[in-house]
Amino acid sequence: MIGFGILKGLAVTLKRFFQTYLVTNKLGKKHFNSPEGIQSRYDAKTEGIFTIQYPEEKQVLPEEFRFIPFLIYTLNPAGEKEFRCTACGICAKVCPPQCIWIMRKTDPETGKPSPHPAMFTIDIDICMNCGLCAEYCPFDAIKMDHDYELSTLNREKNLYSMEQLGKSIDYYAKIRPDNYRREEEARAAKKQPVTN
């Protein structure tokens, strides 16, 4: 019968239409603006309304999510920032769009290069968020961030200096707990033979 296929198809859309109301009704107020409501929309069983209502609701970021690198620093007892970066330049060499510029510090007494960056700049307009710098950094000094809300009114602000790139180790432990734990364990294991 001509038209039967269309009707069969329309039954699908009709079912979907009612489902949106049924699912929202079942979950009640919890469906929106609540962590469990957002989580329910990630589930393999989810039906009904699918979208996350950004910016009121935000996506749950998985640990490995990557966006724009940052530099890890620790605070020393005097309260000064100590960057882990040794200015070895591997991140600048591996960077596919070449958006990392590093100037190595020179020791003022000897005039020889010292393992610290004097300047570390990333042009985040160029950065393609590939994560290779973080992957190949031998000192766990550069990591990928979770913060994706970076819009500015002025493009010149997108040339990130060391000040803007630096984030504390606690922040890193917060956004990537599993990676942090793994790396700290590896560090501890590396130190062990030396102390013995």
Partner: protein, 579 residues
């Protein structure tokens, strides 16, 4: 397993024939035969008609600068399966002329135009040798090694200005607007009229039948900004009344010379760039590039990595096919309902990619010799839930929703028909080729990774129209689920990487052509290394670009509205077409 890829499988008859007319390639790491330019047509004719090498997969150029030669490299296959037959024609760099193969293999048409555009190799006998990716006023041929872009910094990355004396400045100060273009000598932009445009229109016009009623042809322009073209893609159609009599696609609006960038990059740096080719299926692109360079390096990834790769590639196929199905309906005028239904499923697959690789679309997940990181048990469970429960249900729902729909049938059945012979001759691959009845799937025809061990069917349909392409995609999603089921059952524990991850891989000199069955068709990478950290030549055989060769054949005789359906059924991604 690698041997199977590198040694061309040829019958003795072919070898005997070629040893009479051609010289064996002798360079270390290279294979195939060198044929003299004047004999090229004759050799290809024999190979095509008598030896069964009917499928010209890839044609590309290699500039041997500072040697005064340019090579044109052909990769021939049999449409019944098997490895490549590599042939090359070596010509003088200053005056390169090579006979065109368009008469024998129509699939060479766009690829030869591309080589003319990017290398400046003249193809004698080509019916329409215009620039294809760049505009007609472009200065020079950019893939030649001595061509330099405006604000050229260095031949290869990493650039020396980055470390240890790196001082950053805003890019627009180095590269100011209006100064960032090069013109040929004596060129003034204000006085220039586009000669290419009239050539294009001449090309589209079809000579009138003098016997018939005197009618005028009307040229209709679609695109480059048109909602049905899936990006910046332009078509010029000559119509007689409602009927299309001639049609030419115009591409290149998104051109960024991916291959030049690739030759400046180191081998590893290319990996994230491949994501940007076909941005709907970046995992597949990673796969193709990884196996090509692995072939050159002679390494094989560990078992678990192979399973993870196949898992990602098949998830990509589902997400790409489901989107193609949805957007085909969008083009047919179903507005956004089917495409949003399919986007929902895609979102769930992208969630998995995000958790595994860190990014939803630009995955950058593969490395030479393995993958970046292991998949956690939680993600495995998610994949399991999707594969065993949700996706089969949803694919059935789409089937129920669309397959029997009378409007869909009327709009798609018998539209854009491509016969099997035409499809092979046009070098068309992927679901379009299989919808025309050719059971050619690289996972079976020239197996890579672990596909040999997996059970799945190669889906073929017989009509070769838009409706059959839709059905092939639908069935292929089910086959992908079948593969995923097996992968989830058999995935072993173990390492995910051969050797230690290094950022500067050592690639011995030589060439390799690696290809995978991407969602859009045969995605091939041709990489030539000269032992340095950067590839000497990096070529992408983009399936959607070459599938466009058949567009004219499919559209002529139909209506303008059919063109929109046909373009939807090709399922192209302009990031890959324009490269």
């Amino acid at each position: 397993m690698t041997d199977q890829f590198t040694t061309p499988i040829s019958t003795d008859v072919t070898m005997d024939y070629l040893s009479m007319v051609a010289a064996k390639e002798t360079r270390q790491g290279f294979s195939g035969w060198v044929i003299p330019a004047e004999k090229s047509l004759e050799v290809f004719d024999t190979l095509n008609k008598k030896q069964g090498y009917d499928f010209l997969s890839s044609v590309t150029g290699v500039d041997n600068f500072p040697d005064p030669t340019i090579e044109v490299v052909y990769h021939l296959f049999k449409s019944t399966g098997g490895g490549p037959l590599v042939l090359r024609v070596v010509v003088d760099r200053d005056d390169p002329v090579v006979p065109s193969l368009v008469q024998l293999y129509k699939g060479a048409e766009f690829q030869e135009r591309e080589i003319w555009d990017l290398f400046g190799v003249h193809f004698s006998g080509h019916p329409d040798l215009r620039r294809i990716l760049l505009w007609e006023g472009f200065d020079g041929h950019p893939l030649r090694k001595d061509w330099k872009e405006p604000f050229y910094e260095e031949d290869v990355k990493p650039y020396k200005s980055r470390w240890p004396e790196g001082k950053a400045d805003l890019i627009e100060k180095k590269n100011p607007f209006e100064d960032n273009v090069q013109f040929p000598q004596g060129f003034t932009p204000t006085n220039w009229t586009a000669t290419g445009e009239s050539a294009l229109i001449d090309e589209v016009f079809v000579p009138d039948d003098k016997e018939a009623l005197d009618t005028d042809q009307l040229i209709i322009n679609l695109g480059p900004q048109h909602p049905s073209t899936h990006g910046v893609f332009r078509m010029l159609a000559a119509t007689e009344g409602e009927k299309i009599v001639g049609l030419k696609p115009v591409v290149g609006y998104l051109h960024r010379n991916h291959e030049k960038i690739g030759e400046r990059n180191t081998f590893l740096q290319n990996m994230p760039y491949t994501d940007r080719l076909d941005y709907i299926s970046s995992m597949s692109n990673n796969f193709g590039y990884a196996i090509t360079v692995e072939k050159l390096m002679g390494i094989v990834p560990p078992e678990r990595a192979e399973y993870l790769r196949v898992m990602m590639a098949e998830l990509t196929r589902i997400s790409s096919h489901i989107m193609a199905t949805g957007f085909l309906l969008n083009d047919l005028g179903a507005y956004f309902t089917p495409s949003l239904y399919s986007l929902e499923e895609r979102e769930l697959i992208l969630d998995i990619f995000e958790e595994v690789s860190g990014s939803r679309m630009m995955c950058n997940y593969f490395r030479f010799g393995g993958v970046v990181r292991d998949v956690t048990p939680e993600v495995m469970k998610k994949v399991h839930d999707l594969v065993t429960d949700r996706l089969p249900r949803k694919i059935d729902e789409i089937d129920r929703y669309l397959t029997g729909n009378e409007i869909v049938k009327v709009r798609t059945q018998g539209v854009g028909v491509l016969t099997d012979e035409q499809a092979i001759n046009d070098s068309i691959t992927g679901p379009i080729l299989r919808a025309s009845g050719v059971p050619y799937d690289i996972r079976r025809a020239d197996p890579y990774s672990i596909y040999e061990r997996l059970n799945f069917d190669v889906i073929t349909k017989t009509h070769g129209d838009v409706y059959d392409r839709y059905l092939v995609r639908l069935e292929e999603m089910r086959q992908s689920l079948r593969i995923l089921d097996q992968v989830l059952d058999h995935i072993p524990e173990g390492p995910i990487m051969t050797g230690k991850p290094v950022y500067q891989v050592r690639v011995p000199a030589g060439e390799a052509y690696g290809r995978v069955e991407g969602p859009k068709g045969e995605l091939g990478f041709y990489v030539v290394s000269d032992g340095k950290p950067n590839p000497k030549r990096y070529h992408v055989r983009a399936p959607s670009f070459i599938n466009l060769t058949g567009l004219e054949r499919m559209c002529v005789g139909g209506k303008i509205a059919d063109t929109v359906a046909i373009v939807g059924s090709i399922d192209m991604v302009l990031g890959e077409v324009d490269r």
